[in-house]
């Protein structure tokens, strides 16, 4: 009983972890299924078919490729633009600050339907044909706020004395930025970009408004497939992305861990 009380947080924590990961587990397990009919909802028998023939279903791999491409470009662009804004906000006091902050907050407070549909209206009015470009524009737009918020926190917590120390040690403005400020803010930028990538890779609602049949992203593909029965290969992609993210981050951790241990 005392044991239970002492470890209550751990137990709840693990249960919540299970809740968070259960769907991924299902996705992984069913990627090895050989479904009876055309719907992959009931376990039948183990098979590697989907894994050996990932791109066998027409259109899916193209959609994954497109999503990765859009995710990368959108998160990088948003990271660059967002970092600039974050620096302006974190470092300078200027007229229009509060308006700027409001403008950054609003997209986060706007339901996706509203954003997607209003953007489509704009594209139509401007005569921009929907497709990859419009999806990118939309993604950069909704990723921006998240990047700004993440990076700004980092910029704000940056000790201004470090930059003064750099200036004191003969670094001019540019050198100070390159050698001190940027490396220190980089983890924040990376976190913001990562968040942006996952948001972009995951978005369905806004994308759906601003896509064309020749620019089907992975979530759109999944949505369409869901209406007619998802192929097992979708689970394979889900599994690969999930484990891929894990592997990348964990190796990154291990590497930096090893580096600092070697130093010690």
């Amino acid at each position: 009983m005392a044991w239970l009380r002492r470890n209550l947080v751990i137990i709840i924590g693990i249960l919540v972890m299970v809740y968070i990961l259960l769907p991924n587990l299902v996705v992984i397990v069913f990627s090895f299924n050989k479904p009876v009919g055309r719907y992959n909802y009931q376990w039948n028998e183990f098979s590697l078919d989907a894994w050996t023939n990932v791109c066998g279903v027409p259109g899916m791999c193209q959609s994954v490729g497109l999503s990765l491409q859009i995710g990368l470009i959108a998160s990088l662009t948003a990271a660059v633009l967002g970092t600039m804004v974050a620096f302006a906000l974190g470092r300078y006091r200027f007229r229009g600050r509060s308006g700027t902050n409001l403008l950054i907050f609003l997209p986060m407070a706007t339901p996706e339907v509203v954003m997607g549909s209003s953007l489509l209206t704009l594209f139509i009015a401007m005569g921009i044909p929907t497709g990859r470009t419009t999806i990118l524009i939309a993604h950069i737009m909704f990723c921006l706020s998240f990047v700004i918020v993440t990076v700004k926190a980092r910029v704000a917590s940056l000790d201004p004395r470090l930059e003064q120390a750099a200036a004191d040690l003969y670094a001019n403005e540019l050198q100070t930025f390159l050698k001190v400020t940027f490396p220190l803010v980089l983890p924040g930028i990376a976190a913001g970009a990562l968040l942006a990538f996952s948001l972009s890779f995951d978005d369905y609602i806004i994308t759906n408004f601003n896509a064309s049949p020749s620019s089907v992203t992975f979530p759109m593909y999944v949505w369409g497939a869901a209406q007619r029965g998802t192929p097992v290969q979708i689970n394979v992609i889900g599994t690969v992305m999930f484990l891929g993210a894990l592997v990348v981050v964990v190796t990154g951790q291990l590497l930096s861990g090893r580096r600092s241990r070697r130093v010690a």
Partner: protein, 312 residues
């Protein structure tokens, strides 16, 4: 507006900026802000004007400042609006109840697995959330994983008891878990849990453990230490987490579409349908605006009440 106080800039830097060229911040701002103005504000304005127009798709719209659309939309769809707020609210509370212990666990009790657990919380983001939400169909379905596990472990009675309880509180309406308010809230909770855990984690991680010790030293029992010290200090994280959860949850409709029924329709679904099925753009635009206004109003009151001016 609460956001206007998102400052925290060091004192000396702005000073220098003023002297060395007031243009710098603006140059930094312009690209990003221009993007937001062109691709967010402009569309919003055209949406706003759309909501006041009359006409139909095939014959075109004219601006008539027809505010009646707002009245009509609200009087027709207030139940869905209300339902969205309630579902999102319940889901937010659920994410808080689940996310808080998890965040605490990761921040203070996970030792060397801390980073790994954090990654595990974020990693699901990389699997399309549609796939994951669909997986909930597999889990909650009548012949789904849950039922299967209950059957295999001879705990079907437990599952039935659980369903009975849900039925009593009206979260399911027959013996199905899926396609019910329960399933929708479960999906919303699941989907937005990381948005709660991350800000909470970064707040709780910074919590000075000595303050908890000081509370114990001053006769506070563990519960009192939580109630009087940990909780109030984590409020900024709680506020950030609840906002990041509540706002998108209110507008979400994927969960309702995939896991709900005609009795769980949320306002996002209505807006989507008005835009993409009915083609009643004024109604759709009006509903969008109402939704935004409601959210902003709630957020502002909430942030004021919670007493933290910091948003995220």
């Amino acid at each position: 507006m609460a956001v206007s106080t998102l400052t925290g800039a060091p004192v000396t830097a702005p000073r220098r900026a003023r002297r060395r060229g007031a243009a710098v911040p603006y140059l930094l701002l312009i690209p990003g802000m221009l993007w937001l103005v062109v691709f967010f504000v402009l569309p919003m304005i055209s949406l706003g004007s759309q909501s006041l127009q009359t006409g139909d798709v095939d014959n075109g719209y004219t601006m008539t400042w027809n505010f009646a659309t707002y009245v009509d939309a609200l009087s027709t769809y207030w139940p869905q609006m209300l339902r969205s707020l309630v579902y999102a609210g319940v889901a937010t509370l659920a994410t808080l109840a689940l996310g808080y212990p998890l965040a605490w666990f990761i921040a203070h009790r996970s030792g060397k697995y801390k980073n790994f657990l954090l990654v595990l919380v974020i990693a699901p983001f990389f699997t399309s959330f549609l796939i994951r939400t669909l997986a909930w169909q597999t889990i909650l379905g009548d012949q789904g994983l849950l039922a299967e596990v209950a059957l295999r472990t001879h705990t079907s009675w437990l599952l039935s008891g659980f369903k009975e309880a849900l039925k009593t509180v009206g979260l399911i309406n027959n013996d199905q878990l899926l396609f019910s308010p329960f399933a929708v809230i479960c999906g919303l909770t699941y989907n937005f849990l990381p948005f709660m855990v991350l800000p909470l984690y970064s707040n709780l991680e910074r919590l000075d453990h000595r303050l908890v010790e000081a509370a114990g030293d001053l006769y506070a029992s563990p519960f009192q230490a939580f109630r009087r010290v940990i909780w109030p200090l984590s409020l900024p994280g709680v506020v950030a987490g609840t906002l990041l959860t509540f706002i998108p949850a209110t507008g979400d409709y994927i969960n309702s579409v995939l896991l709900g029924s005609t009795r769980t329709v949320m306002i996002g679904q209505v807006i989507d349908a008005q835009f993409l099925r009915v083609l009643d753009y004024p109604t759709a635009a009006a509903l969008s605006f109402i939704l935004m206004l409601v959210i902003v109003a709630l957020v502002v009151t909430y942030v004021r009440r919670a007493g933290t001016e910091e948003l995220v």
